[in-house]
């Protein structure tokens, strides 16, 4: 059996938050589907609220504090990422974007990503498509076709559970089919100087 690592990024601000609730539901659906497919799953949740100060410091100093570095290492090593943000002012929250801004180049290149978003009203739902999807495309992640949006009213209506299950199954198939490809480590494998001279 193969063990897959899922890293869940939640940018919810309140505790408990509906963003985290959606992230947990997507994780459960994905995990169940992966177990049906081929194996074991480990999960690690990154609550961005806990890193909010570190993220600002990272912007200002250029390096990550210890716990933020662990989060960066975890996402770079993940077999799949579930990324969930509240929608603020028609887009992902600033906190969510800041986390993806400070990842190293290539950190999630080729990594399957399942997107989720929450908001007070369903009128924000396309933010997933016009804001989050281009962000992950730019980062060269493999974005699952089905993303899940949950407005406040969805938590009391039929349909959300089915959408979560469908997204989880589709994402699980991507994760299961994914061959881990991690960015080359320039420290472990430096470009020989002769090659640097030639490429001048």
């Amino acid at each position: 059996m193969t063990t897959r690592s899922l890293v869940i990024v939640s940018a919810g601000l309140s505790e408990p938050s509906s963003t985290r609730r959606l992230a947990d539901r997507l994780t459960a659906a994905t995990t169940a589907a992966l177990r049906d497919l081929d194996g074991r799953v480990t999960t690690e949740v990154i609550e961005l609220r806990a890193h909010a100060h570190d993220l600002t410091d990272h912007l200002l100093t250029g390096f990550a504090g210890e716990s933020l570095q662990q989060a960066k290492d975890a996402i770079a090593a993940a077999d799949g990422v579930i990324a969930v943000t509240p929608i603020f002012s028609a887009s992902y929250s600033g906190l969510f974007k800041t986390f993806f801004d400070v990842l190293d180049d290539g950190a999630i290149e080729g990594t399957p990503v399942l997107m989720g978003a929450t908001a007070g009203t369903a009128r924000h739902s396309l933010a997933l498509e016009h804001a989050l999807r281009p962000l992950f495309s730019y980062l060269k992640a493999v974005v699952a076709p089905s993303a899940v949006f949950a407005a406040s009213e969805d938590w009391g209506a039929d349909g959300l559970g089915a959408r979560i299950d469908r997204a989880g199954r589709g994402f699980a198939a991507l994760v299961a089919a994914h061959e881990p490809t991690h960015a080359a480590d320039p420290f472990a494998d430096p470009t020989p100087f002769a090659q640097l001279l030639r490429s001048g």
Binding site: T56, D57, L60, T61, G62, F63, G65, E66, P186, F187, P190, T191, P192, F193, L196, L197, S199, G200
Partner: protein, 371 residues
């Protein structure tokens, strides 16, 4: 082991008074700092190079030449010389001239520069940063070692039968360090030539410095210049000291809180834990810097940034006094203790000259056959 001061040459308002020094005052302050470094027994003074306000260090060899005339022992260096946007021919000429005038007390640290617009201002493209550093230095390296150079590259006019003058004093060119914070390619370059590698770690956690120095040492050995422990390593540092550590913290905090680069970010306490910045008693500084070699191995040069964030000149000179009187003499002893025999000192002009003479003697003894 060499100890010294490096200065970026920024003109920053003193946050406690709101007063900004004039360019003239800041230039004179930098001279005073260099002279103080020699007076208190430090080994090196290195000047930055920038081509935009709020910096005034656009013309390093002019400044270093002026300092050379007023000092006797101090090694004059740079932090850094922009190998990307300067013409390598001009670097060869300027620093060979400085080397003559300073009686050999000159070395350089190459850097790519971190100010984006400097590239287009000097007709270059920042996306070529690494390629420029590689090609320009390859030319500079030849110009100091060969006459009648024929050369063609991607970034400058070709040369036919060009001889850079003056020739390096006594033969050996100034020793070169390559400085880079994040690029393994530059550690690779330093290793390839057997040059020094300087990691300016003042704003970086030790795990990162360790990684960069590690790759340089490994590749230095790979290229056959000696063991990894014989590679020539320099580190940056940043300190503020008072007899009573609480006084140091109280006095430095207003400067720290709004300083360029890290101001308005992490707390003084977090930043001192994460980077080499040490604010406290001279004893605390000694303990922190005596332990650096545990992370990067025994090294050759330790430079301190002392004159930034708008600290007034009198305070800076006072700090350099403490450094020279109370800290560096103890660090010299500490770092000499248990230093493995193969670990060399940083090359000086006298050492490079002696080395050249001994190689010449072998050459002659072999009847003209290169050993």
């Amino acid at each position: 082991m060499q100890f010294g001061i490096f200065s970026v040459g920024d003109i920053t308002p003193d946050p406690t008074t709101g007063r900004t020094p004039t360019e003239g005052e800041r230039i004179q302050a930098m001279i005073a700092i260099a002279l103080k470094a020699e007076e208190v027994g430090l080994d090196v003074f290195a000047a930055g190079e920038h081509h935009n306000p709020p910096f005034m260090t656009s013309s390093p060899t002019t400044m270093l030449g002026y300092i050379a005339a007023q000092t006797e022992r101090l090694i004059l260096s740079t932090a850094t010389t922009l190998i990307t946007t300067n013409d390598p021919v001009k670097i060869a000429e300027d620093y060979a001239m400085l080397q003559h005038l300073a009686g050999g007390r000159v070395d350089l640290m190459m850097g790519r520069g971190n100010t984006g617009p400097v590239y287009p201002w000097f007709g270059k493209d920042i996306r070529d940063g690494i390629a420029l550093a590689v090609e320009n230095y390859a030319l500079l390296h030849r110009l100091w070692r060969e006459t009648n150079v024929d050369w063609e590259g991607r970034f400058r006019t070709p040369l036919q039968s060009f001889t850079s003058t003056p020739r390096p004093l006594d033969g050996p060119p100034p020793f070169v360090w390559h400085g880079s914070i994040r690029s393994p390619e530059i550690a690779e370059q330093a290793a390839f030539y057997g040059d020094g590698f300087f990691h300016n770690n003042i704003f970086w956690p030790m795990r990162h410095t360790k990684q960069m120095v590690g790759i340089y040492r490994e590749r230095f050995e790979f290229y056959g210049h000696g063991g990894a422990d014989q590679a020539i390593v320099g580190l940056g540092g940043q300190v503020f000291m008072r007899d009573n550590s609480q006084d140091a913290v109280r006095e430095f905090r207003p400067y720290f809180d709004v300083a360029p680069v890290y101001g308005h970010g992490p707390s003084l306490e977090d930043f001192t834990a994460q980077t080499p910045l040490t604010v406290g008693s001279p004893q605390q500084v000694i303990e922190r810097y005596a332990a650096m070699r545990e992370h990067v191995g025994d090294y050759q040069r330790q430079l301190f940034l002392m004159d930034h964030a708008g600290l007034p000149l009198a305070t800076v000179l006072d700090q350099i006094e403490i450094l020279g009187a109370e800290v560096v003499p103890v660090l010299r002893k500490e770092l000499a203790r248990d230093r493995p025999a193969p670990v060399p000192d940083a090359p000086t002009h006298a050492m490079l000259k002696a080395d050249q003479t001994s190689r010449q003697n072998v050459f002659t003894a072999n009847g003209g056959e290169r050993p």
